[in-house]
């Protein structure tokens, strides 16, 4: 049923973009190539005289991201569910085992972004998202042997500005900096074994960070259709949210090699290295009254963060002069996590964007 729902969420978006593509009236490379030398000689450089194409400073992006977490890692060591599940008083309780265990966590984010090109160098943009998360559990708590919790809603909103240096013919640098506004909820509740009725959900199931965060990114591209791109991105968290914690800062370094397969199709392979810190502070409502107060690993703020190296493969299809459809599948090659922590299995992204 959920798949069906996602499908129907997709269709209008993609269909809208495709219809838009069909209705575009502008000069394509093919149209230029068909001009005779004399026709070319008569073409004016001010577009309005020759075609109806209107330049617009607006850009639009729409992206769906999926991620799945399953299994556990402590450092780089794999742990079974039985290793992490505390089986009751017959077994010693430690900081590495828990009476409640998330087994599969899935996350979906639908992101919409609008950008505005102020001039050749400066662009501003605003992004927000709709998030759906689901976490399946096993536990030793009576009546909660197997249970699922879900959360969904609007995530955080990011406003950013980027500056591009493209004065050199073969090198492009872009620096982006923004402010992430805490529009996503950190008060999501659900029925967990902690107590009867709804209680505050763990950090993973919240929709936002609850803090004002600063995303920064520096990108370098060579001025060729094929070749390597590099980028460094970081998110710096500020202060603490109303629940007395802040998510960990993170930084990633990534490189992408792309090859033009045809005039409209490009493939790419990307490698990224990510480091993220553990959560700072703690949400006291997630704790239970026991010597070890964390009922599940995901309620312990220290069991977040770590290092990951991922490989991504993707395709970009140029639907028209302005629209791109892109699909990327990414899988971690190496993970060293502050664990026990759920292990990332894969993440996918499907995006359609109108670029300038």
């Amino acid at each position: 049923m959920k798949r069906l729902r996602i499908f129907f969420t997709f269709v209008p978006q993609i269909a809208g973009a495709l219809i838009a593509t069909e209705s575009m009236a502008q000069s394509t490379p093919d149209e230029f190539a068909e001009l005779s030398l004399h026709q070319l000689f008569e073409q004016r450089i001010d577009e309005s005289f020759n075609d109806g194409a209107r330049r617009s400073p607006w850009t639009l992006a729409h992206q769906y991201k999926y991620a799945k977490f399953e299994g556990y890692l402590d450092g780089s060591d794999s742990l079974s569910f039985q290793d992490v599940l505390w089986n009751g008083p017959a077994e010693p309780r430690t900081t590495k085992n828990f009476p409640i265990l998330p087994t599969v966590i899935t996350q979906m984010a639908a992101i919409i972004g609008v950008g505005y090109q102020f001039n050749k160098n400066w662009q501003g943009s605003i992004f927000t998202s709709y998030i759906e998360q689901k976490s399946e559990h096993i536990s030793i708590v009576k009546n909660y042997d197997f249970f699922t919790i879900e959360s969904h809603g609007v995530g955080d909103t990011t406003v950013s500005a980027s500056y591009t240096w493209d004065d050199s013919a073969r090198h492009l640098w872009q620096l982006s900096m923004g402010l992430s506004l805490p529009t996503g909820s950190i008060d999501e509740v659900g029925d967990t074994p902690r107590a009867p009725g709804d209680q505050q959900l763990p950090y993973t199931m919240q929709l936002g960070s609850g803090t004002f965060d600063i995303p920064v990114e520096l990108t370098y591209r060579r001025g060729e259709a094929d070749g390597l791109d590099f980028s460094v991105a970081a998110t710096v968290r500020t202060g603490k949210n109303d629940r007395n914690y802040r998510l960990g800062n993170n930084i990633s370094v990534s490189s992408r090699y792309q090859i033009q397969l045809s005039p409209t199709l490009r493939t790419f392979a990307a490698v990224s290295l990510n480091y993220s810190e553990a959560i700072n502070g703690k949400d006291m409502s997630l704790l239970v009254n026991a010597p070890i107060p964390y009922p599940a690993s995901i309620t312990n703020p220290e069991l977040y963060g770590g290092k990951k190296a991922s490989l991504g493969l993707g395709l970009t299809w140029k639907l028209s002069e302005a629209y791109r459809l892109s699909l990327e599948v990414s899988k971690p090659l190496y993970q060293y996590l502050n664990g026990p922590q759920p292990k990332e299995q894969w993440r996918n992204a499907l995006s359609i964007s109108r670029t300038q």
Binding site: P12, Q13, F32, I45, E47, R54, V154, E321, A322, T355
Partner: protein, 183 residues
């Protein structure tokens, strides 16, 4: 709030969000349909480069095999290179029906036609037999065989006849008819 009512409310809220997203996309589309970043002037210059490959014949030395393609080396932003690549893709030119290969000048190992945007690039070019096309050269550009200029909002080109005759190429009179000749 009753759980069933809350669930219904969330469903309606989600549907509303999706509708807003679609509406925002549709509302923005009229302006989003605009042309891409590359200026029309640059597109016209790229088209001229393609036409130059049609109206200039490169005479390979008798001892060498005729190349299957004409190598166009470009010193220009990525968008320009991509546009020219797409413009020439799948097309053949000349009596020998050669395809046109577009590469960045930076990584080129051989060039028949070179397009430079910055005049200072011409000082260290290492392809002496290539036809050099310069983009609106304001200073002295003796190595350039063809120089673009703008006249009454149209892209025009000047041919340095002495320079281009020193190269091993044949220029069609159809091209010269449209050029401003610099002897």
């Amino acid at each position: 709030m009753h759980p069933l009512l809350k669930k219904k409310f969330l469903q309606v809220a989600k549907l509303l969000f999706v509708c807003i997203v679609i509406s925002a996309g549709l509302l923005l589309q009229p302006s989003a349909f605009a042309a891409d970043q590359l200026s029309r002037e640059s597109k016209l210059k790229a088209t001229y480069l393609f036409n130059f490959t049609k109206f200039i014949e490169w005479q390979d030395p008798p001892s060498t095999e005729t190349s299957a393609f004409i190598q166009v080396c470009v010193d220009a932003p990525r968008d320009f290179i991509e546009f020219l690549t797409e413009l020439t893709a799948g097309r053949v030119v000349g009596v020998l029906r050669r395809s046109v290969n577009v590469v960045s000048l930076d990584s080129a190992t051989d060039c028949d036609l070179i397009f430079v945007q910055q005049a200072e690039m011409m000082e260290d070019l290492i392809f002496p037999d290539a036809v050099i096309v310069a983009d609106s050269c304001t200073s002295d550009c003796p190595q350039a065989s063809i120089i673009f200029y703008i006249d009454t909002s149209r892209v025009r080109f000047e041919v340095n006849l002495e320079q281009i005759r020193s190269l091993n190429v044949f220029v069609s009179s159809d091209l010269l008819k449209l050029a401003r000749i610099n002897n």
